[in-house]
Amino acid sequence: MAVTTTPRQKVGWTTANLVVIVLALFPVLWLLSLSFKTSTAVLDPSILPAQWTFGNYSGILTSYQFIRPLLNSIGIDLIATLISVVLASMAAYAIARLRFPGKSLLIGMALLIAMFPLIALVTPMFTIERALGLFNTWPGLIIPYVAFGLPLGIYTLSAFFREIPWELEKAAKVDGATPFQAFIKVIAPLAAPGMVTTAILVFMACWNDFLLAISFTSTTASRTAPAAMEYFSGGSIFTVPTGPIAAAACFITIPIIIFVLFFQRRIVAGLTSGAVKG
């Protein structure tokens, strides 16, 4: 890297960084500003609200039309994340450590599902879920979320698992542990950081889903937050629900911002580990 920084370099990099930051944040800040505008001021293209109000937030946070979907989102996504991380760690351990036939088949299958066009699933799953009584229920969303969280989980975790010092496992086996005990008692604690990263990535993917959420739900019983915004209404039929929608959009972005602020390094490592190192 450069040994000394010339003033020109300094200016150049500062400009480049600023451009990236502005481009990345401006659309989000616009949404934030919109969420603080009053219902009459949303029809004003100025960047900052002339008059700040928390009305949109207090409105959505006291409305069952938003609170229930928000709770659905949290519940469904947490359960789906938990299940897919547990199942994916088992499979990733096997891929990273064990010799067994069919391994490349499993990897190929995970890859295929990672690239799967979701819409191709919607029509048949809609029919199947209605027949099984899963339509418009939590499991009706949890099951597909688990299935689509699995490939992401298997890739990320098997990349993490390869970095673990496996001599410890051998030592445990020498001391008389079965392979299963070695997995639970020795390796699982070492694998925890990778599992946290994977959980964040899977949760973010579930949190982001819209197509399955609008396809497999019909009421607030299981509708998730991203799907619920469509059904917001303004104070009267003459007011557009721009403010409440903007507030809800900002509200569901909060968990993402928290994850990114606290786990930036891990998210980057997790996103790139599976894809580039191969």
Partner: protein, 319 residues
């Protein structure tokens, strides 16, 4: 697979060598057998869920696509062979949706590749605020697509949004070409960080010494980029392109919020959704699903065979 059971080991002399070779690959000691069993047991739950949620519905969709099946006309359900396929493939709606999808895919992926490469260079070489830049550029990646899409929608609404105001109060979302451009911008904004991070990982594999050596030999920055960086990054670029292309081909959320597919801006996914939930036509909806599945398979095949993209994870087993 090559399970060597004890009975097959009784062989003639000429075969003995071959079997010995095979046995070397799969020595079935008690430990290896236990390992193999454990491997299968650990993978089984994941495999079962993935097959139940994807393979089975796809097979079921193939079956549904051969039927006339409209939820509003349940008494008229009938096996009709390939006539749904004929109906979809001769419909201008399908071809228009496919064209829109391909245009969005090609432009958003290629532009975000260029911008992602710039972003990767900045993240890799910047002298200050590396952490801050990385954190902020992750926000478009992480934000819920629908939430961002509402932001874009309001920004382009006349007499309400700053972007519409900046462009002469244009109602961009009501015009096919302009709406598609807005959709592409929304896609690029959302996906460039992911592209940038994947490319950054590839970029960090390019040895710094090689760059320095070329610099000493008098290569310009552009020559170093095209002659050293790009060739060494080719695998990372191809994987990023494969991921992004398939992801972009599935575009739904942005279009659904921005235009609902009106004025000829619908993608194939939007078309499939409309046929299921607005027309309640399971037969046609399934046919579209299967056709999209075939398109995705073709794209993946072109990348993996045509460009020699190493499918990510294919060499996992070798380690």
């Amino acid at each position: 697979m090559s399970t060597t059971t004890p009975s097959t080991q009784v062989v003639t002399g000429t075969e003995a060598g071959r079997v010995a070779g095979r046995r070397k690959r799969a020595p079935l000691s008690e430990g290896a057998r236990a390992e193999r069993r454990l491997g299968w047991m650990l993978c089984a739950p994941a495999v079962i869920v993935m097959i139940a949620v994807t393979a089975y519905p796809v097979i079921y969709a193939i079956y549904l696509s051969l039927e006339r099946y409209n939820l509003e006309l349940p008494q008229q359900i009938k096996f009709v062979g390939f006539s749904n396929y004929a109906a979809v493939l001769s419909s201008p709606y399908w071809w228009s949706a496919l064209e829109v999808t391909l245009i969005i895919t090609v432009f958003s992926v290629s532009i975000s590749l260029v911008l992602g490469m710039l972003l990767a260079q900045i993240l890799h070489r910047t002298l200050f605020f590396r952490g801050t830049v990385r954190t902020t550029s992750l926000i478009p990646y992480g934000i819920v697509t629908v939430a961002a899409a509402y932001g874009w929608q309001y920004a382009w609404t006349p007499s309400q949004g700053y972007l519409s105001a900046a462009f002469n109060n244009t109602a961009a979302l009501t015009n096919q070409v302009e709406a598609i451009i807005v959709i592409i911008i929304a896609e690029i904004w959302k996906t460039t960080p992911f592209m940038g991070l994947l490319l950054l990982a590839g970029l960090s594999l390019v040895p710094e010494d090689l760059q320095k050596a070329a610099k000493v030999d008098g290569a310009t920055a552009w020559q170093r980029f095209t002659k050293i960086t790009l060739p060494l990054m080719k695998p990372a670029i191809l994987v990023a392109l494969l991921f992004r292309t398939l992801d972009s081909f599935r575009i739904f959320d942005n279009i659904f919020i921005l235009t609902q597919g009106a004025n000829g801006t619908g993608s194939v996914s939007v078309l499939g959704y409309d046929n299921l939930f607005n027309a309640l036509n399971l037969g046609i909806g399934s046919t579209i699903s299967i056709l999209i599945f075939i398109c995705v398979a073709i794209i993946a095949f072109i990348f993996i065979k045509g460009f020699g993209t190493a499918a990510p994870g294919t060499n996992l087993g070798g380690r």
